[in-house]
């Protein structure tokens, strides 16, 4: 930050034309951009990885849920990490991949959306937000090629269409709209299988939340990197519900109830709901 040193706000602050915080950062303080560091070629580091995120549309919006575990090799690096975040009032982002890089990306994305809103006095369209996130992931390609990849899942309420929508990404910044439901991360194969069997058109909100938790349970059942609900420590999955009223995180008590119901239904029935 050169502000203090020179007193006057540097020219980048007063430049007209851009509503993007990321573009401003690239000019004013490029060292703060994620993915701007040059890594030694051919090296790799072991860093905590976030795992499974699921998302599904329901009648009125979209639900996104994530487990709480981060792993580093065979070690559980963190058992109560948050991996689903409100990106702004009407959208949420869930992360899988290298946790440190992903969190920095989320932090930047949140500021990016709010910055645009303040400068333009208008919300970005949902597609605009999704595209913006794609550009940020593309900027991380160099680090992804050295093993520090980030693959988020983006879900939001489209104010123009009046529906919940979700977008998935690949490491090169490809952005794909997903229909009905989607999952990312190491346990995503198992979660997807579960979602396929449990998702129906026209689900109501509460059912959608339990389908999401059920899918995470199935992922944790077969993937060691995905954490199941921890009843001893009372650590539940993070569940965000996004509808016309904006993003809302389901509170602990409601989650405890939903998780207890799923665990009870699985007694003597390890396959779970069907």
């Amino acid at each position: 930050m050169t502000t203090e040193a020179q007193g006057r706000l540097p020219a980048a602050y007063l430049a007209a034309g851009s509503s993007s915080f990321r573009d401003f950062l690239a000019g004013a303080a490029p060292e703060l951009l994620p993915g701007s560091r040059a890594l030694p070629v051919g090296s790799s580091v072991e860093a905590p990885h976030g795992t499974t995120i699921v998302s599904l549309v329901y009648d009125g919006g979209v639900v996104m849920a994530g487990d709480r575990r981060a792993t580093m090799g065979n070690i559980i690096a963190n058992r109560d990490m948050e991996k689903v975040f409100a990106a702004d009032e009407y959208s949420a982002v869930g992360i899988a991949g290298t946790a440190g890089v992903a969190l920095e990306l989320v932090k930047l994305f949140q500021v990016e959306l709010e910055h645009y809103e303040k400068i333009e006095s208008a919300l970005l369209s949902l597609e605009g937000k999704a595209n913006r996130l794609a550009q940020m992931i593309r900027g991380n390609l160099g680090m992804a090629m050295q093993g520090l990849s980030v693959v988020p899942l983006f879900a939001g309420y489209d104010l123009e269409l009046g529906t919940g929508r979700m977008f998935s990404y690949d490491v090169t910044g490809g952005c794909y709209e997903e229909r009905d439901h989607h999952s990312i991360g190491s346990g995503s194969l198992f979660a997807r299988g579960s979602l396929k069997k449990l998702w129906r058109p026209g689900l109501d909100g509460d059912t959608a939340v339990s389908v999401a938790i059920e899918a995470l349970y199935d992922a944790a059942d077969d993937d060691s990197a995905t954490g199941g609900p921890d009843t001893g420590r009372r650590i539940w999955p993070t569940v965000a519900v996004i509808d016309s009223g904006g993003v809302r995180f389901v509170d602990e008590d409601a989650l405890a109830g939903a998780v207890d119901a799923i665990i009870a239904a699985r007694q003597g029935n390890p396959g779970g709901a069907r």
Binding site: M1, T3, G7, R8, L9, A12, Y13, L14, A16, F21, F24, L25, A28, A29, L32, G60, V63, M81, E82, F85, A86, E89, Y90, L103, V106, K107, L108, Q110, V111, E114, H115, E117, K118, I119, S121, L123, Y157, L159, D204, G205, D206, A208, V209, T238, A240, V241, D243, S244, G245, G246, V247, R248, F249, V250, D251, E252, D253, A254
Partner: protein, 293 residues
């Protein structure tokens, strides 16, 4: 290269520039920033709904300006960038109006002495505190002077007359409706000797920094709510505590009948930069169901 044909004393040069800037500012309509019991109120005479004189800078910081639109818009954007960069590299709670006022003062001062023309603007930066005593309002003038004002600031052509009126009638703990009516009465009276005018909701831009809201406290007051607050006979003297539920209209309080008041009071995330510490603490009114209401 331009060469000065005659010697001009620095005093004369500065005086000419100051006169030039002051003349530009005096042509503009006035803006009032004043504290009320639950926050800070901004009232501007501004018929435009989109070219704002009053804006949000950050969670608890607002901005108001008079003078040339392109120049203060430039400063507003710089302020948003300054605040967002600060909050991004430290934490949201580390962004202060004092830091921003200093950055503005340095910028205005440098432009005043070094550029070919000073900025013809006067701006106010306000930060709402936990209590009315902790509210901060800074006034910045075209030459980079900065003043820490107590309670209220008025800028623009009729600024001095309005400040005299506020000095007589404003008091700490004034409620929102009364503060608004007072500000509008003084704006309508204008400079001494000018004809008093009628200022309706259509020619006013009104916003508040509401100290009781979490995270982003800036809200524009528009529509029927503004008309109600301006009407001293109406029972509405305060802004609603809850945000409205009109999709896409975050940051506006309109009091429209179909606005479905009863939306969430809590922001989906807490005022913190690190995504790991943003989950709001479970409050008494956090809804537990997915359907909401």
């Amino acid at each position: 290269m331009s060469q000065m044909p005659f010697y001009v004393s620095p005093e004369q040069l500065m005086k000419d520039r100051a006169d030039f800037a002051r003349k530009g500012i005096a042509r503009g309509r006035s803006v009032v920033v004043l504290g009320y019991d639950k926050g800070i109120l901004f009232v501007a005479e501004n018929p435009s709904r989109t070219l704002h004189k009053v804006s949000e800078i950050y969670d608890r910081i607002g901005f108001a300006a008079v003078g040339k639109y392109n120049e203060f818009e430039n400063l507003r954007v710089a302020g948003v960038r300054y605040a967002d960069l600060r909050g991004y590299s430290y934490d949201r709670s580390d962004v202060t109006a004092r830091g921003l006022a200093n950055a503005y003062a340095q910028t205005l001062g440098t432009v005043f002495t070094q550029e070919s023309k000073p900025y013809e603007v006067e701006i106010a930066v306000a930060e709402v505190g936990r209590t009315q005593d902790e509210d901060q309002i800074y006034r910045l003038t075209y030459d980079g002077s900065v003043a820490d004002e107590r309670g209220f600031v008025a800028m623009g052509g009729a600024g001095e007359a309005i400040e005299t009126g506020l000095g007589d009638a404003w008091h700490p703990g004034i409620v929102l409706g009364d503060a608004l009516v007072l500000a509008v009465r003084l704006l309508a009276a204008g400079a001494p000797g000018s004809e008093p005018r009628q200022l309706g909701p259509d020619s006013l831009e009104v916003a508040v920094l509401d100290r009781e809201r979490p995270r982003r406290t800036f809200r524009r007051i528009v529509g029927p709510l503004l008309a109600d607050l301006l009407n001293t006979d109406s029972p509405t003297r305060e802004a609603p505590a809850q945000d409205e539920h009109i999709p896409g209209r975050h940051g506006e309080l309109s009091g429209e009948p179909d606005s479905d008041i009863g939306g969430p009071t809590a922001s989906p995330r807490d005022a913190s930069t690190n995504p790991q510490t943003q989950r709001p603490e479970p409050g008494p009114d956090s809804s537990g169901t997915a359907d909401g209401d």
